[in-house]
Symmetry: D2
Subunit: 371 residues, 4 copies
């Protein structure tokens, strides 16, 4: 298969660097263009980017010249670009993505804008890869030859992966408390004075995003695939920042419509697979969810990099402490069989960002939405 | 008022040192005896204890000789002891406290044993100081001249303080997710290899304690004050360890029996006072609960030491982010007026341990239960 | 004594807040004016400053209106201002301090500019309070009615306090390796992504400052008190950032001109006192240096707040592990009696910043340089 | 080549687990026996070891049965064992290693005992691989058919690698200040209460080890290869624990016998290679020392895993900030051309422990000392 030419917008920041980890040597995509903000235009990538991803900066990427973030600059440098990965901040992305889609490019974006637009799919490939069908409506509605596909917020990503296999049991309501890593706010998002020996109990706008995107991700396409019917459950989130580098750990309290069998719940989590696994996509982990029976796991540092093979490191979410809820009285304990508690962990800058966008692009390509 | 002679069992560990902070120079109690484990018997306190509380070890305490932890040793050294503070590990306390109560001493204990015994009060003075009335039944039942009063678990302490003023609104159920400091496990309870850049999603036996003690703390005495009728709500906890030194921060999702008014809820929290404040007890904070409107507060490091005057540093819990719960649909947001979310913080080794035990002893003394 | 009116320039940042801790309720100075950058002008201090110092923001300070940082604004608001404390960043301070001195005000500044100018004293009151005599030359040279006095860099402050009492033994050379807290870079100076689980082995321009200022601090006034003869030793520094909040810990390897007696060295450290102690200045600690024999001390977190009375918390440096250097061969160990190694700790935002500037102002006032 | 049968003594602890990472799938050695302390004997490795190395426990290792740590138990289970890797604590190792050597086994040990015995080589393969020649004298002296080879202390390892290529310039004296990770004390060696937001300025016995072993490592064999003539320089160390997980970072101040050229020094560091690189040993990094010109590097977290290929991750030390020392006077700066300062980083549980022992065993095997 001939590789498709790709551009990466916002290549020098932390999110951009993580994209490079996944795109370097990719079997489907060839990274031809890197863009950044004005002050870095014209420099080599080595000069422009302070590299903080583990491992060395790939040598040939280091020598690429950084371009301006604009449709014209990209087109001029690489007229055959088909796929555009976006690691821009939301404000800048908002201007840029629409233009890219008009230009006929297929945009896979980690930026927060547009996620609630009815004809713009927000995709976790294993959870709702079928929502890519929205792209037909999107192109029709907007008269685009290209398209826009979004990543969800990094905090809901892991939770949605754990909730998807539980949906057949009848999700009614979910309480979610997150313990989020500092990298979720970007390289310069949390000062050390703010977080050493501390917990910050608020992340601006995060809870709204989590609560809304969860329902869209778990929702179903309507008859003509023009929009998603949101899942009818409700989810309530309390989001907190803790002193960890990578990995969002979340406690979920789940109420079902009816009693559930704990073993069946565990089996559903363990056996969860999606189209990426069937198609053996390059960035797909063998198992998107790993279930642990060790009550002390998942732990942020020990489990955030879960996911095999090597290419999919950090792409698996890890679920543990799956247990019934319970109520106490003076005279004893009642097991609440319609309620389950569990812990969920996923890597916020991998499955919650670049890795998920690349996996989505792989799925879109294989299903004929790109090119 | 003449001071009552007091002993501190388990004086050299972290919990014991915190007791010394509160008992040194206390207007009601005079610390006459310090005990520790065998290897430290006969040493001065300075030799026996590796001091890690802020500030210097009090000079006269430093020169006291450490005794064996036994009724005989205490009695021999200070025949007039009336009050015994217990900072022993649970196993050792279990043997020792019964003997002390038989010996006619009034035990105020931070150890975990006996909390669920019907005639043993578990007290947060502002929350359920009236449960001290159980002591009549306790002495009757057990034929003791002394008594035993317990501290609750350090994780439920702050939550119970926040829930008490909300009880009149009709508590139905509570989901609680904790982010607990390493000191909660004792000085040697969490290795640095376990917690740096990490969250541990499980604390052995903690959730059961939290779930049960909450109901006893918020319960009511029965007619003859022989036992507590547990509160009929239920509480579900998920307990987690994070890399902070002191201060347990908790996210609470509260469902009420009926709709509540947010302003009234806030007023109830803000105006909460108890008998310790009326009696102006030495270790009582002016306000047991502080309410903040800054969405970024309470924060563990910045707010754990809340409480005025100086003697009550760390004795106030701080509540913030008091907000309705909400549900989303494609077409908008519904406010759920029978549900409130909030964040609560309290100092686990002060209000959750020594400080609370000392305040309880002050209340018991002033109400005639001691002496 | 009537209090002198004082202004604080740059009142809302971390350094400014620390100044307020020391100036609030000060017996010599009355804080009449607070200034900040444009965006905060006209707000109350409560609105303008995100308070992160421990304890509450003083109530009457909270209600003060924040002014523009300019000589005119200050003069108009408080024509009787005599003393100006500066907590501005170096660039802004550079413009502003000269004007203030011309205006007849006595400037005590924590900003880095001007420290190497021959007629500008850099003062640690116990170390080189006599260098205030430079102010006569300064006023003469510059035709000022006011004056400028500087704080040294926060990294050399503690080391200079430890080296001063050792000077009589004949200092020849010093190697210094620092382990500096993140607060040294200001509230937003170090991102959490940069320092969690990390050491950064470089702090821009820090080593030059440390190496130069040490020699000026330990130097002697020339005959006509017009300049300082730098100390003839040399000092070599390697400066590193570690994940601590407050407190710069430093390892010193000291070579003397001749052999020294270890007990005499320790006695010199322990007995070190200066004019602030003689005059019992309000912010002076009883002992500027505390010597510990516990090999595991000083520790950053446990000892950074050393200093009594309460008003002087954090004003004492702590020295420990004072030991000879040694050389090994196959056949044994030689003690090098002309070399001493030790560990030194001081609080970088207290003794290394606001606290030291306030103590210097107290000394200057009492010695007649101000007013 | 047929693989040699190997045993790992002390397989379940942190050091043992790190050995498994390097020995699993090793081309020269086949791990046939795992031993541990009594309480784990008879369990599978999966049951006995709480795995905290990144990645999964190798499946076939997980199923191995753990044996008692004794010569008899090993011999019985695997009569053909030739090579023994030791990850035991020093006390236990002291008893065990002598017996192993008598039994004819070739011991490669990370335990601290015996390092100063004249006929026991302490090896960093690139630094002093030729010291393996001591094994002839060792066997002669002790009448062993087996042998003992030791790893050096993990703190001197990186420094010795940086100093070795500088030896030709004439090393005179070195001051070394370390910032060591908590893992250096073992899994349970540092409590979180001790190190969060803290620096501990002392590590028991560490400085003596560093100061002595450095001279033996850099020394030369005498004529008949019966002992090492220690290097005649001297080294003075100050050792400190900081809140990092892995990686010992060190500041070195080096004085040479004469002036050196900075570019030649850098070239020597950069071009440093040893026999492991010539022989392309399986665990040898392409370059044992990496030199960086970025003043902000090496950083503990970003650089501790340096070393290519993948099998040698963490086996390269990283050196940076190589610069002349300098002296200041009022009138300017003098460059001290006989003194160099630099920063050095190496991975304490890889190059400073298991990885180095495995590389040493590879070298010994290839040079005919084993088998």
């Amino acid at each position: 298969m001939e590789k498709l030419s790709a551009a990466l917008l916002g290549a020098t920041g932390m999110a951009g660097q993580q994209f490079i980890r996944f795109l370097d040597g990719h079997p489907y995509f060839e990274l031809k263009v890197l863009t950044a903000s004005c002050k870095n235009v014209g420099k080599t990538y080595r000069e422009a980017a302070k590299w903080f991803v583990e491992g060395e900066m790939p040598a040939h990427i280091a020598e690429m010249t950084v371009l301006e973030t604009s449709v014209d600059a990209v087109r001029q440098a690489a007229p055959d670009v088909k796929v555009v990965f976006v690691a821009l901040p939301s404000g800048k992305a908002k201007e840029c993505e629409l233009e890219c889609a008009q230009a006929g490019w297929h945009v896979f974006s980690d930026a927060g804008c547009f996620r609630l637009e009815p004809d713009i799919p927000v995709i976790i490939p294993e959870v709702n890869g079928d929502h890519l069908q929205l792209l037909h409506a999107q192109r029709r509605n907007r008269n685009w030859t290209g398209s826009i596909v979004k990543n969800p917020n990094c905090t809901i990503t892991g939770a949605a992966m754990a909730l998807k296999p539980l949906a057949p049991f009848g999700l009614k309501q979910v309480h979610l408390a997150s313990m989020q890593a500092v990298s979720g706010a970007g390289y310069d998002g949390v000062y050390s004075m703010q977080i050493l020996d501390n917990v910050i109990p608020y992340i601006a706008e995060e809870e709204e995003k989590v609560q809304q995107e969860a329902l869209k991700l778990l929702g179903e396409l309507n008859e003509d695939a023009s929009a998603v019917r949101w899942h009818p459950m409700w989810l309530s989130a309390s989001c907190h920042r803790v002193p960890t580098l990578y990995g969002h750990l979340e406690a979920l309290f789940i109420e079902f419509e009816r009693e559930v069998d704990l073993d069946e719940v565990k089996a559903a989590l363990k056996n969860f697979r999606g189209t990426p696994q069937e198609l053996k996509l390059p960035t797909a982990p063998y198992q998107p969810l790993l279930l642990t029976e060790d009550p002390f796991r998942p732990q942020t540092r020990l489990d955030r990099d879960a996911g095999e093979p090597d290419r999919a490191r950090g792409m698996a979410a890890v679920v543990g402490r799956v247990r019934y809820d319970e109520a106490f009285r003076e005279d004893g304990r009642t097991v609440l069989k319609n309620r389950i508690r569990l812990i969920n962990l996923s890597h916020n800058t991998v499955r919650g960002a670049s890795g998920n966008a690349v996996l989505t692009a792989e799925l879109a390509l294989r299903q004929g939405y790109v090119g």
